[in-house]
């Protein structure tokens, strides 16, 4: 199935490549001016000048289409299987008209007439992450991201790190509200250690109310070395007592690390977000960061806000008891009740007995804390869950 973000690439003439290979495994590349999406599982190309490519497809139907999104310059690989060539019919006519119209508007003759519409089944789709690594966001991007994260979550002290070349190395890209930043070399020591830990273990790290633990550790250290050799650790109101750090992932690869620290009184805001929300947020931010180098600077903060709000909305929906407490079957029953079906009708549709439907309903009322069928219907409708019970 073609992802939604790819659909715009089939609406215009964007450069693409077709790679085929002969039965001996000798590859052949052809430039294409356009790929047509015929259905969500099928794409087509125009055969005007395909010679070797066409012969290859008859020997080995597996091919690769590479297409670039002109908005963000991200490349996509569409693995396809050749299924047929249309020499007439609706698709052939549509493609012929499209290429003739472009040729007419451009005022140039067609290099060759359309021989056939070559139709492929889509096998898989992949974003070419390995070709996007150099499309790095400008450094100010990370400052914009931290500003938005701070505003939305009420986080005061933040830093953003990217993985360095060695296993342990992390590089500071931006910070916000960190005391001593720019004047005190040790201002980021703790966050750097935290970022390294996230990099090595690729997981969310939380440290809550750790002042007493830090005192204890410092006292052990002080005892193991000559007394007086090491300055005693001093803790003030501003000393961080809580830390939160999470990885930003772009297509499952570590793209960056957000570190957040909180002084006393700020612990609640630092830890008010759950791990599953952070994981979802991190994946969304990772995808945005992959393409944000093409977004004008004034629009960056607005885009980050949209992404974070979307992650919050999705999380609120997922955290709803409808998803977290009800079983898949109970969700189906609840949705069918909201659609106005009787117990007998639901039983027939789900191939269960009416008595089982009644049992499910009793559990649903209890879990969602709703007193009646009407209240359950209102619950499902108001939360927009009508399409959720179809799994």
């Amino acid at each position: 199935m073609l992802p939604i973000e790819l659909m715009s690439l089939f609406e215009g003439a964007w450069p693409a490549c077709l790679v085929t290979s002969s039965v001996e495994g000798i590859p052949n590349i052809a430039n294409l001016t356009r790929v047509w999406c015929t259905e969500t599982r099928h794409v087509a190309i125009a055969n005007q000048l395909l010679n070797k490519s066409f012969r290859n497809l008859e020997e080995n139907p597996l091919a690769l289409l590479k297409i670039v999104n002109p908005q963000d310059l991200i490349h996509w690989e569409i693995s396809v299987r050749y299924i047929r060539s249309d020499y007439e019919g609706t698709l052939f006519e549509q493609i012929r008209q499209d290429i003739e119209t472009v040729s007419w508007v451009a005022g140039v003759p067609l290099p060759a007439q359309l021989r056939s519409a070559v139709v492929f089944e889509v096998v898989s789709v992949r974003q070419c992450v390995e070709e996007s690594v150099h499309l790095k966001p400008p450094p100010e991007t990370y400052g914009d991201l931290l500003n938005v994260l701070a505003a939305v979550h009420d986080w005061n002290r933040l830093s953003y790190w990217i993985p360095g070349e060695t296993d342990e190395d992390v590089k500071l890209q931006a910070s916000r509200g960190v005391p001593g930043a720019g004047v005190d070399e040790s201002a980021f020591d703790s966050m750097k250690r935290l970022a390294r830990l996230v990099k090595s273990e690729s997981r969310i790290v939380r440290l809550k109310n750790i002042r007493s633990q830090l005192r204890y550790l410092h006292s052990i250290c002080s005892e193991s070395v000559e007394q007086g050799d090491r300055p005693a650790a001093t803790f003030t109101e501003g000393t961080p007592v809580s830390y939160l750090a999470f990885p930003i992932l772009s297509s499952h690869a570590l793209a960056g690390i957000v570190c957040c620290e909180g002084a006393s009184g700020q612990m609640e805001s630092v830890h008010s977000v759950e791990d599953r929300y952070l994981a979802s947020l991190a994946a969304k931010l990772g995808e945005v960061l992959l393409t944000i180098s093409s977004i004008p600077a004034p629009e960056r903060e607005a885009l980050f806000k949209q992404v974070i709000e979307l992650a919050k909305l999705q999380w609120q929906k997922e955290a709803d008891p409808f998803h977290s407490s009800l079983s898949a079957r109970e969700r189906q029953v609840a949705v069918n009740v909201a659609k106005g079906l009787t117990n007998a009708e639901i039983a027939k549709q789900l191939f269960i007995s009416p008595r089982t439907v009644t049992t499910h309903l009793e559990r649903i009322y209890l879990k969602l804390n709703v007193p009646s069928r009407a209240a359950l219907t209102r619950y499902v409708m108001e939360k927009g869950l009508l399409a959720e019970g179809s799994e």
Binding site: C17, G25, I29, N31, P70
Partner: protein, 159 residues
Amino acid sequence: MNKWPDEINLFLQRPVPIFIHLAAAQKGTTPYISRGYGVQPEPERELLWIYILKTQWLRLKECIENQQHLAVLLTSGVDNESYQFKGQFIGFRSLTKQDNTKLYEQSRKVSQQLPGVASLVQVSPSECLAVGIQIRAVYVQTPGPRAGSIVMETERGKS
């Protein structure tokens, strides 16, 4: 001695951005293609060196483990003049100073003539390596009546 036809030599010297695609395949599987960031011809040895990212190399090398056939499509970014080089993988190496100059030249040409896609080719030499191809044949791929016709076949290609 440069044994390549003038048509190819002139194309490789054109002061225009050249878009590069490098493809590999294994028998009976889906082929792989990667963008190239620069090209360094060695006509005397019938070689072509293509600069790709190290991250791309990780994928490409899987496709040439058993078979070493490669194809390179070079396309002028201004008028679609294009040629497809076919040959065998002969190895890879780090970029030399000469390669670095070529890489920057290509990036400069794209920035000047096609600024909208400049960020696509702005890569650092340290991120790249050069893949060597022993050329066996070159085909015209410019859209038009000559598309698909052979321009050159080396002795290795004939054997």
